[in-house]
Symmetry: C2
Subunit: 336 residues, 2 copies
Amino acid sequence: MKVVLDAMGGDHAPEVVVAGGVQAARELGVAVVLVGDKALIEAELAQYNLSALSLPVVHASQVIEMTDKPAEAVRAKKDSSMTVGLKLVKSGAADAFVSAGNSGGVLAAALFGLGRIQGIKRPALSTFYPTLGGRCFVLDVGANTDCRPEYLLQFGIMGSAYVQRLWGVPRPRVGILSTGEEEGKGSTLTREAYTLLKDSSLNFIGNVEGKDIPLGLADVVVTDGFTGNVVIKLSEGVARLISSILEEEIRRRPQAMLGALLSRSAMGAAKGRLDYTEYGGGALLGVKGVTIVAHGRSNAKAIKNAVRVAVQAAEGGLLTAIEQGVRGYTHSEVPK
Amino acid sequence: MKVVLDAMGGDHAPEVVVAGGVQAARELGVAVVLVGDKALIEAELAQYNLSALSLPVVHASQVIEMTDKPAEAVRAKKDSSMTVGLKLVKSGAADAFVSAGNSGGVLAAALFGLGRIQGIKRPALSTFYPTLGGRCFVLDVGANTDCRPEYLLQFGIMGSAYVQRLWGVPRPRVGILSTGEEEGKGSTLTREAYTLLKDSSLNFIGNVEGKDIPLGLADVVVTDGFTGNVVIKLSEGVARLISSILEEEIRRRPQAMLGALLSRSAMGAAKGRLDYTEYGGGALLGVKGVTIVAHGRSNAKAIKNAVRVAVQAAEGGLLTAIEQGVRGYTHSEVPK
């Protein structure tokens, strides 16, 4: 198993990315191909004891920056770490690609370098979302800000394939994010997508509301990339708000400060369960190659976990599962 | 000051609504007109010592139920508590209307019974959102699931008028909810609305992301009613998730349980700052009469606080502020 890691992607690249790559190689026992500025990467690698680890470096002279316009940058920078890294996957030299860089850039580079799976209209960015009972799978969280109903149907197919194959849930409950439980609630987009999902062979449970995502009512939550992006960023903001307000109130009360000290390990455990770095990264689904997009602010642990997600997806046959899932819908106009 | 309260609206009507109405009359010193089934309301009122309080009852024989289709129900039930109550505001017999009932029903009944403020294309449902620094004002949170860019401009105008007039913020910072800070990020809708807002005389601060709402980056956050509805329900769900996970982790550790006991008042204070019942209800902006929609699950305190919001809006001249705000934009095609 060989995973390509974009050493230049992310707010703390290359140092943190290389650190995460070293951790991944050590803990997961896989080869991690580091792509980017060879001199910089090797300077970072020099700090570690790498005996018995497989961490080849592949040089790429350019970087898709966070501030770059994705499609333009991918076209202009033919030797970017993203493009060079994805070529290794495309050619079969590696099994998966991970980047914490410009997510629009990864999307554009993957569309250009890997292409779409046959029948897929729009690739979607997915994420794990921690819930009361465990986790759920949300997509699209940002690849497509304007969607059509049939895209949402395909997001449901891809999400269901992922959760079935990689989480081992036999019949994932697929819900569509809307403004009320009843059929007929929601926007024109969600109402039309509802009909397509209801008529599909997915285990469609109907509309779910905003509150139902963290409560874990669905295994897969389908939404357009605009709303999905708001969902993940808002969740992060709410968590920060709650933690800050709690901290403020505790600081005002000496007795509560003692209490907080005693509860520290419980609070740490709760934070850990909600921590994105534990989840690593979200798969870009629908392109012809396992592609994982990690958070731009990823620390080394988050990078390592993103590599873990990539390994699971590659070993678990994610692409085959999506191809099979979408096949039933591509040869007929109306999904069965 | 006379506020009409829909005694039949909400999950716990009429008992909890009447209790809230009594609290409001007592604590705010206003007259609260209770509209609904006279016998039921009077049976509830009989439990209280009402000396010196003004709580007249106006009979209405029908109820718009939570499960009713709003527009149809409003047309069919001419003697519903909503329709009867709004007539009192329309005629000038009362100053404001409050309901915790079917929010679509309130919208339909207010559109039908009060009409729109001249120049307003679509009324919007608003809410207060607790933030790190205080609170912000979010709209639309559910009245319009499909929006056009000019609606969002008007939401900005109405929200700014509200926050300026009722919160005393001289130049409210107006942001549009989107998927990235930079101009050009977002959906077709938000990009077009961005241009309108930028060209307006509002204090427009550009795009805000999901996380920026709780962090308090804007005083007014403008969004379509689909996304806004997801935002408020998701926030509620995330808060419940965090509180449940924290509780689970505390229960596993005897020392943390002692700690939690010592931190109890701090936790209570933090919860209070995030508690929707403190905020009461959201104004339905753009109709010709002060109309406040309270949460369906409102307890008596939430009802009382919704009446407080109604009193503030009526006393503060909300309608005049919105009329003035929108006037600058109604006589020209292109907003200045």
